[in-house]
Symmetry: C2
Subunit: 323 residues, 2 copies
């Protein structure tokens, strides 16, 4: 049996009630081996409510990161559930870490605590956005590395293609590079240099794509730097919300359908942002995640860990680690 | 009387029929002095249809840029309506140039043909996006300068604040810098260096804003580099279209309201993208513009030219032109 996924019981807006329920669901319904980490007393009380005491291992970590510190990056290296969870992954006692804590705190803690996989220059966040064609497009990097080199963006493209294969079941993913025109050579200096590296890598390189292609289902993967990717991710959410708000104000739409469409682009439904390129997989679920979303994040983390997401980077673009 | 606005009669998907009608509307309904440029015979025939022969001056330019060349930047320096129009502005015979040609072709031709205003490092495209609060937010740079320095972004912020005052009638505009977090210091290297330059400039510096703030009406102006700005502009359009398409597919919305909301974020309704920082104002109307949109673009160009949009840049951030 593979190593378990560690679930941060203390992360998220709803605390252990939802995270523990999610872990139980992941184990019982989806066959994912899990371990819970956090304040053991509270976790055990929640497990008992599901009749799951003794069914799932619990690792104690005293400190939770107060939600008021979300996004400040002010995470001490102490006995937080984050720090202990990442440590278990680094030691090889767990295959992956799932948290509904703040993305910034989880990413910075994971980079420090787990470390990069051999041959990977920098980690990247992958998010699967539902597209108009009914599938999904992987946006990578959605915010882990704000100032990548062209070589890092080429690695992000490889990581994204692996994600599309392992999580979205796309056998032969197509990859586009986000830019400001579709003709070859359009873009800024960084994009033009990255564009030269992508042909010949083991995926179908579609060429350049633009901002209006992100939800159109034009490609399976869109590679970009972590600054542009994070701005785009948040702009998708804000723009969809704006359009639906105007429809609601006009009283011209069915409220149930408005909620359904809003839900598709709610960060919670992305199934979690996966931090790829570390020596172990990390999936960040949205802070408002309920049990089902946590369970889905466990399943994604398990699939990525089992599939060897960084193997293609090692085979095709391995580089000496740099500081 | 001020110098006229030159209108490119040959630009746009609908040709002289709509551009000439727009120029007539600008002059008659909005009091904007205009000159038409392009194939004189075709223009005069259209003017006659409106009973406006002799009312508006016509400058002949033989070549139109075929629409198949849109966006390729393959504009010769010959006698195109674009080249002749920009030349009239450079000579001071016209105050501004309005075209519904391709943004890429108009921008590159204008930069070459008109040249930068004294003290301005690089031009920037400003687009006014309607916000949820009922007003508009100026996004600048929306695509003219893909690789700016921090000093250029500070100038874009000043140009954007002038645009908000002159076109949107905002007396005391607030300015945000687009980044990937709202806390000071969040961002990539370029953004962090630009952030240090903005306090102390003659506008209310709001601080950093994020992708989901673009349509929320949080600030009057959002400054960014031309790469990120262009990706965001197109992502807004694509995301709004995606949300409305899903509502339409569900049959859960009034078609009339869907069209109305789509129209708000159609590029055509932005009133044109203004290229600021040159020695003369240039407004690029969308290729699909009809007469009313052309007339509005003429009005915007006239207001910007009369208001001295680059004066604050000269006063506060003037620099020696660099190559």
């Amino acid at each position: 049996m593979s190593e378990p996924v560690v679930v941060d019981a203390m992360g998220g807006d709803h605390g252990p009630a939802e995270t523990v329920a999610g872990a139980v669901l992941a184990r019982r319904d989806r066959g994912v081996p899990v371990v819970l980490i956090g304040q053991a007393g509270r976790i055990r009380a929640e497990l008992a409510r599901h009749g799951a005491a003794g069914e799932i291992d619990v690792v104690h970590a005293e400190d939770a990161i107060p939600m008021t510190e979300r996004g400040t990056g002010a995470v001490s290296a102490g006995q937080t559930s984050l720090a202990v969870g990442c440590d278990l992954v680094r030691q090889g006692a767990a295959s992956a870490f799932v948290s509904a804590g703040s993305t910034g705190a989880v990413v910075s803690c994971a980079i420090r605590g787990i470390g990069r996989a051999e041959g990977v220059l920098r980690p990247a966040l992958a998010v699967a956005l539902p597209s108009l064609t009914g599938g999904a497009t992987v946006l990578i990097d959605a915010g882990a590395t704000a100032d990548p080199t062209p070589e890092m963006i080429a690695q992000f493209a490889l990581l994204g293609a692996s994600y599309a294969q392992l999580v979205l079941d796309v056998a032969d993913p197509s990859v586009g590079l986000l830019s400001i025109g579709s003709e070859p050579g359009k873009g800024n200096r960084l994009t033009r240099r990255a564009e030269a590296l992508l042909p010949g890598l083991p995926f179908r390189f579609h060429g350049l794509v633009e901002g209006h292609d992100v939800l159109a289902g034009v490609v399976d993967v869109i590679a970009t730097d972590g600054f542009t990717g994070n701005v785009v991710l948040k702009n998708v959410e804000g723009s969809v919300r704006a359009a639906l708000t105007l429809m609601a104000r006009a009283g011209a739409a069915d409220p149930e359908a408005l909620r359904e469409v809003a839900g598709r682009y709610d960060p919670e439904t992305h199934g979690g942002a996966a931090l790829l390129g570390l020596d172990g997989t990390v999936v960040v679920a949205h802070g408002s995640s309920r049990a089902r979303t946590i369970a889905r994040a466990c399943e994604v983390a398990h699939g990525l860990a089992g599939g060897g997401v960084v193997a293609r980077v090692r085979d095709h673009l391995a580089v000496e680690p740099v500081r």
